[in-house]
Point group: C2
Chain length 289, copies 2
């Protein structure tokens, strides 16, 4: 999961296309603001890593898949931050999109990024159109209803929530899509990668819960303690910090074990182990060492 | 532009897929509420009519294209009605989605419908995947930035607005997409249909302006006078009721003249003339007769 420059360049090319001269200037500025500078770009780098492990042969297709995944992630952050959800003041160390540009543009930025994700997949597969249907199905399933990000967020509007379904839809689904789309971009079957993506997403969700409780807000780039404030489930609140760290480690181990047979299996395994150390806040790594 | 039953059945099948048992119940209910009962379904019926005129040979592909267009239209209505935009109390004669289900679900319904539109295109083209890329490009261009619906709505956030760009993006773009996607679904080139869709969309926009000023709110199913209330451009406010009616007629005539050569050109022309009479409110038709 290196290739940060490659990810940034691919995303930049996609965003440049919509922020053309005909675009309403504030919308163009707000779209760019929502996407750059990014966070750790974990999902698109995961997509690239899986494509490489599967013997990637069409880099433009992989770039499109990775970009689409990240644009959808950015869209979900912009909409989740809206006043009717988290009303978050900051995101990635700066004012959230609706704080910087107002609520109307924040709604439109999210909508525009969703559309751009699908447009990017279409443009990126011109040289390999036979890979487009599998990529589209993989990506749309992970974002929409009944079990993608939109559904995950909608579980917050229900009185009775199945915690596993909620977290799987809200966080896990895009990890599943990142892994499966990486495989599909390389011409491999996407479905065998679902379990790996699911386990990795679950471990990331637990790490996110730990960060929400234990991170330094300056390192995190957003406020801490949001789960407790919003009455959302959190693994640390449920099983304590040590329990949550143990759970994180076992999920990560299960993820690594679930990597399907592929040409670059060993290299991918090593990469996941190294990269996963960045999931947890520094304070917790010291505590857990 | 008959085929109302066909349109309803196609949309119903697409919505049933996302409102499966795993879907958060309120989200499923709200998605269905946003889509049924529909309005005049002008855009999907236009899509079907153009496909028929082009010698439709894969009805499942046409159904998918028509459904995707209508789902995107519904998504735009739900988001446009939000408190940060029009704060509309009613839509299609019943409370708007955010009034009935709350703002969080209204945001998610719009997001979910956008995703569902692209998923529907993918599922519907399994038997003719070679038609998928053109359909995706046609549809995504009409919805996103720099010149689709999202951009159209974003022009409302700018201080200086080019009226033609604004209306073309906000209303015209989905008419262009409906016509072009109908052609693409039938295996014809979509681009020659853009001018026809654009003119038809422009005439519909003028009719919409007339309805906003002159319709009976009970017939319209939403409040009247919204353009003046929100300081939005309106052809009647600009050129008077008779001027607007004359403008509507000349745009419609230009639309009919712009129908490209195709096997069913005459039938399509007749259909457009008949259907266009439904664009204007009854009061105005009497006035203009």
């Amino acid at each position: 999961m290196i290739a940060m420059n490659r990810v940034e360049q691919a995303i930049d090319a996609a965003v440049a296309g919509v922020c053309a001269k005909d675009c309403p200037p504030k919308l163009a500025e707000a779209i760019r603001y929502a996407v750059f500078p990014g966070g750790a770009r974990i999902r698109p780098r995961l997509c690239l890593a899986v494509a490489a492990a599967c013997g990637e042969d069409t880099p433009a297709v992989t770039d499109a898949a990775a970009t689409a995944i990240e644009l959808l992630h950015c869209a979900s952050l912009v909409h989740d931050d809206l006043p009717c959800f988290d009303d978050a003041e900051t995101r990635r160390g700066k004012p959230s999109v609706h704080r910087a540009f107002g609520e109307p543009l924040a709604v439109l930025v999210g909508d525009g990024l969703i559309v751009l994700a699908f447009e990017t997949l279409t443009r990126g597969t011109v040289s390999a159109p036979q890979r487009l249907p599998a990529l589209l199905m993989t990506v749309s399933r992970s974002v929409g209803a009944p079990s993608g990000i939109v559904a995950g967020q909608a579980w917050e509007c229900e009185e009775r929530v199945d915690l596993a379904s909620y977290q799987r839809a809200k966080t896990g689904s895009l990890f599943v899509a990142a892994a499966a789309a990486g495989a599909a971009a390389a011409g491999a079957a996407p479905d065998p990668w679902a379990l790996f993506g699911d386990r990795l997403g679950e471990s990331y969700q637990v790490a996110d819960d730990i960060r929400d409780v234990a991170a330094n807000p300056d390192d995190l780039g957003k406020p801490v303690g949001q789960d407790e404030n919003h009455g959302r489930p959190n693994a640390v609140l449920k099983m304590g910090i040590d329990g949550a760290i143990g759970h994180f480690k076992s999920l990560l181990s299960a993820a690594v074990d679930a990597i399907p047979p592929c040409p670059g299996r060993e290299a991918l395994r090593d990469l996941i182990v190294v990269e996963s150390k960045r999931f947890l806040p520094k304070e917790v790594l010291r505590h857990a060492a």
